[in-house]
């Protein structure tokens, strides 16, 4: 415990650093969502339309990346037991849905 105490600040800095880097990388792929109001509102409309069409619950959708061409999302169906999960790409222009592997 004494030895661990000696490194408490190191543990804190490393933990904060790792969390910071991971979050910055994630945020970088979502930058258009915050910088471009047109993309933001189009994303909102596309996500709601896709969720309604596919029967998705919005709480299960997480946005992975946004570009001018498409939105990459992961849909996870949360329930007791094994959750099903899939990666999808929504075309920004047509609104069509495809699998990540297919693109």
């Amino acid at each position: 415990m004494e030895r661990l105490n000696r490194y408490q600040w190191h543990i804190l800095w490393v933990t904060q650093g790792v969390i910071g880097v991971v979050l910055c990388v994630q945020l970088f792929s979502l930058v258009p969502l915050y910088t471009d109001s047109a993309i933001r509102s189009r994303t909102q409309v596309l996500l709601k339309a896709t969720a309604a069409r596919e029967g998705w619950l919005l709480s299960g959708v997480s946005i992975e990346r946004i570009t001018d061409e498409n939105i990459r999302v992961v849909y996870r169906s949360y329930n007791r037991g094994r959750d099903t999960e899939g990666c999808f790409v929504i075309d920004q222009k047509s609104g069509s849905l495809g699998l990540c592997n297919a693109s």
Partner: protein, 391 residues
């Protein structure tokens, strides 16, 4: 022997509180945490909860664990009140365990009770006279963990800042220890648009109410939090002790509730109120009467609480649906909470006629156009409209 008996007695009380909450089914927010649905709170605690999903009794496990932590927290109060008379120490512990926040919230699987416990640890650290410099790094790590459990931990920021300020660490180190965790929390909100949206939504949910109505609700929440007696004694203690860190935190809790009121945030007052009593022990002058009054008020509140001891429609319907032999998803039409997902062993999706071919059951909380003509039959004698696939 006396200590063991006290521990066992407190544990029995905690289990009873957990069982009391377990008599009604899982609520939508509880289901959200148990399933680790990623909003609005950061992932630390909810991912730990999800890791126990394999347990058949996951729900009751967390109810008992959280109730235990909140009730057995009296041992921390015993430590905080070192130097007080035995009667005063007993009163402090009694004020805690007989406050209505503990009675009504300790068996709930919510983030607010966990944040309240974390708040109590910060209050303890702040009121403690021990030198904390030798474990300041751990305190900063605990602060980071608290913020990544629930955003509301930020309400205890004045206490954390005061704790670090008192240590006289280098200025940059203090800022990095207190400020960086807050910056990381903000960064997390940015990476989770759903969390950001629900955060903004929660911030504006009281805007349709008049100032007087909001104030009434917040004051009601504060009064019920400490069963009136601790609520008043605690605030008097905070004000009379001129403890600015406690004052800053309780002001933040009041302001937070003014903008984002939820009944379950009442427990956030509790650690600060008990801190006020400990910071200004003169409020315990008639400690026995105070405790007696606290017990009477709490029992009165319990007697007047609405008690729902029946399974939710989600549990009733999903127990039936889970027993179906056929494979497929469950479709639900209309507005529904996460408890429907929690009670289901299979995938739950929103009703849309194009998914009927994949479904084994359809729950119609709202209209289900087309379900009758697609090889489904309706189960009779159920309060909720449920259709299952013909074999």
């Amino acid at each position: 022997m006396q200590r063991i008996l006290t521990i066992v007695g407190l544990q029995a009380y905690a289990v009873l509180l957990a069982l009391y909450q377990g008599l009604s089914s899982v609520r939508t927010d509880e289901a959200k945490y148990l399933l680790d649905i990623p909003y609005p709170h950061p992932p630390l605690m909810r991912s730990v909860m999800e890791a126990t999903e394999f347990l058949e009794f996951q729900e009751m496990f967390w109810r008992v664990l959280l109730a235990t932590l909140l009730v057995q927290a009296v041992w921390l109060l015993v430590r905080m009140s070192t130097g007080f008379s035995p009667e005063q120490r007993l009163t402090i512990c009694g004020l805690w365990i007989f406050s209505s926040s503990i009675i009504f919230q300790s068996g709930t699987i919510m983030m607010a009770p966990i944040t309240a416990l974390q708040g109590l640890v910060f209050v303890w650290l702040w009121l403690s006279t021990e030198d904390q410099k030798s474990y300041a790094g751990w305190i900063a790590l605990f602060w980071l963990a608290s913020l990544f459990t629930a955003y509301q931990a930020v309400l205890f920021g004045p206490l954390v800042l005061a704790i670090f300020w008192r240590m006289r660490l280098p200025f940059v180190q203090t800022i990095l220890a207190v400020g960086v965790p807050i910056a990381l929390m903000m960064l997390y909100i940015g990476t989770n648009p759903l969390a950001a949206a629900s955060f903004l939504n929660a911030g504006g949910q009281n805007t349709h109410m008049t100032m007087i109505d909001t104030l009434q609700m917040v004051l009601g929440s504060w009064l019920t939090s400490g069963s009136v007696v601790l609520s008043i004694a605690g605030v008097v203690g905070i004000v009379r002790s001129k403890n600015y860190a406690l004052l800053g935190s309780i002001a933040l809790v009041f302001l937070f509730l003014m903008t984002s009121f939820r009944g379950y945030y009442a427990i956030l007052f509790l650690p600060l109120l008990i801190g006020g009593v400990i910071a200004y022990p003169a409020v315990l002058k008639k400690s026995a009467s105070l405790l007696a009054l606290q017990i009477v008020v709490s029992v009165w509140m319990f007697a007047h609480a609405s008690l729902a001891f029946y399974p939710s429609p989600a549990r009733t319907v999903m127990t039936m649906v889970n027993q179906l032999q056929s494979e497929g998803i469950v479709l639900i039409s209309g507005s529904f909470g996460h408890e429907w997902q929690y009670e289901s062993e299979g995938t739950v999706m929103r009703y849309t006629p194009s998914l009927l071919s994949k479904a084994k059951a359809v729950v119609c909380l709202d209209a289900c156009p087309g379900v009758g003509s697609y090889g489904f039959y309706q189960i009779g004698n159920t309060a909720t409209e449920v259709w299952v696939r013909r074999k």
